[in-house]
Symmetry: C2
Subunit: 343 residues, 2 copies
């Protein structure tokens, strides 16, 4: 497959998922009208956030894995699995945005911020938590509709495991736990990469060997994806979006910052410590100094090299387990996009 | 079965559920130690609330229905279904208590209040929401372990439906929707009575006719249960606990208050309206006046009569559908306990 063919395939997946989500959420509006017409605002909050975009990354990962393992099961449709993961994502985003007090999401208001136009602050927050809870039930409903057949039980165990891991990961994030690697493995590795890969593989009736290969492909990829995110958060993304790095400005202890806390010495170490302890808008000069010290210390180039190594490890795992060539091309493409954060 | 035999049966169910919950939550502590040892506080919050008591009402309803429909399936064990509903209840209580800003639950601190000893206010609230989310995944995990066999899909649909209905009901409650009857049907009728009955019936392989009979038994019972609660909330429970009614003090628009808003006239109507609009601790004399006006208007005696009618309707539904006599006795006993709120 050429890159253009892979891109066209991704576009088709996205459009199909968007359509499935719209159809499902229309059904939920009708259902709410029957069960409790006054409660439409809950469904509308979920609907607004879910249909407002999102890259449909997890559905793409599910479908890529399915295609790699089961070219011979052309009738199997992964749309409902993908839609379920997108609604699960809405659930998590609704709760996370309130936890992090982020009022914006996907170019519009976060759900708790939406409810503030008709409700007092606490009630708006409570309604957002409730909308998240309802979205969790919706995600389960969609997952139960997916055509797993014999592998239903295995798939449901994965669905539970993904949720448990993402909540543990969110706990580490909320409490600013120093074990940043574990936090990322749980939030990104498991929830964004390994979980969707294994759901797709299970849907396709993959062999244990193929599942192992997908785990070996996904685990370094999760780390690369997160490191690339930390690189952009720290040093900005001049190449692709022109976005400046603002993790240091927000004193977010990403993986690179955690590394810098161990590595920097002398004045640079003190500057970083002062910055991380400060409140309010930090001195831009201090941020610039710390950023430069991290580059001088070799942290940037080291992490760039690490991302390359991880990507190579990830791609190497795809060989020799009988994956479909087209599916393998897609997985390679997805890996590069994830490791460069251009998806 | 004599009343004493039914009581001994209920005691056995409670002890078995308590034991299953303790075993499961011990397993979750071990699992958290492996996945993310720093996150133990999430599991401990769930564990503390779940094991701190509770009447295990929903498991009792599940097992009563199972016993009524399936005396010939002696091998079927409803323990895991009951334990799942108790963990689901923990999830809902953790979120509700934060929504309602209630700091106490089951004779101890609510989960968000527990976390305040180690975290700031917002972080404690966020961790409680996260603990609730984790409990939701646990409830699903337990439900997936229940021995539904052929009826697994039907059971999972019920599990989703119960959750959707309780969230819609909670929405009506949070926004003080005037449709109080619907709110109670969703929160109590569906979640506390019909849902557990149908899960028990499904586990026992009940016929459609038996399921219809259980719905006919459960629907009036849900209303009676709620009315009895509103009676205690409004007029107190001199007979059983000596607890005074405090719904009017907290300006909680329960079903009786909603009825009074329609029925009272003249001065009493104005007193009630002033009371419901007031802030802070209301004038005890005004509360007493409104309470007496409700009695004089006949609201108390009318609701007492209504509870009796509902109970009779409920019990009548148990005849002629081939339920096991012992199971029927248990269902009758449970009905009386629920309608008198002595369970």
């Amino acid at each position: 497959m050429t890159n253009d063919e892979v891109k066209a395939w991704m576009k088709e997946v996205r459009e199909r998922i968007d359509h499935a989500l719209e159809t499902y959420l229309d059904e939920k509006l009708l259902e709410a009208r029957q069960i409790s017409p006054s409660s439409l605002e809950l469904v509308e909050g979920i609907r607004s956030l879910t249909l407002r975009g999102g890259k449909r990354l997890r559905p793409i990962v599910v479908e890529a894995a399915l295609r790699a393992v089961a070219p011979e099961r052309p009738g199997v449709d992964a749309t409902t699995v993908g839609a379920s993961l997108e609604v699960l994502q809405s659930y998590l985003l609704i709760h996370d945005d309130w936890m992090d007090q982020d009022d914006e999401r996907r170019g519009g208001p976060a759900v708790h911020a939406m409810y503030r136009s008709d409700h007092g602050d606490h009630e708006a927050n409570a309604l957002a938590i409730l909308a998240g809870d309802l979205a969790s039930a919706y995600a389960l409903e969609l997952m139960l509709r997916a055509p797993f057949g014999e592998e239903r039980d295995e798939a449901m165990q994965l669905f539970v495991r993904i949720q448990k891991e993402v909540f543990y990961g969110q706990h580490l994030d909320l409490t600013q736990d120093p074990d940043v690697a574990r936090m990322h493995d749980l939030k990104t590795g498991s929830y964004t990469v390994r979980g969707p890969l294994l759901l797709g593989a299970t849907l396709g009736g993959a062999s244990d060997e193929q599942k192992e290969a997908l785990i070996a492909y996904g685990t370094p990829l999760g780390e690369a994806f997160q490191l690339a995110d930390d690189m952009i958060g720290t040093f900005g993304d001049a190449e692709h979006t022109g976005k400046p790095g603002d993790d240091l400005v927000h004193r977010k202890r990403n993986g690179l910052v955690a590394l810098a806390e161990q590595r920097l010495e002398g004045e640079a170490r003190a500057e970083l410590a002062t910055l991380m302890r400060s409140r309010g808008t930090p001195d831009p000069e201090r941020v610039a100094k710390v950023t430069q010290a991290m580059i001088d210390e070799g942290i940037k180039s080291e992490v760039e090299a690490r991302v390359k190594t991880l990507l190579a490890e990830s791609e190497a795992a795809l060989d020799g387990v009988g994956f479909d060539p087209g599916g393998t091309e897609i997985l390679r493409f997805v890996a590069r996009k994830l490791a460069l954060r251009t998806i």
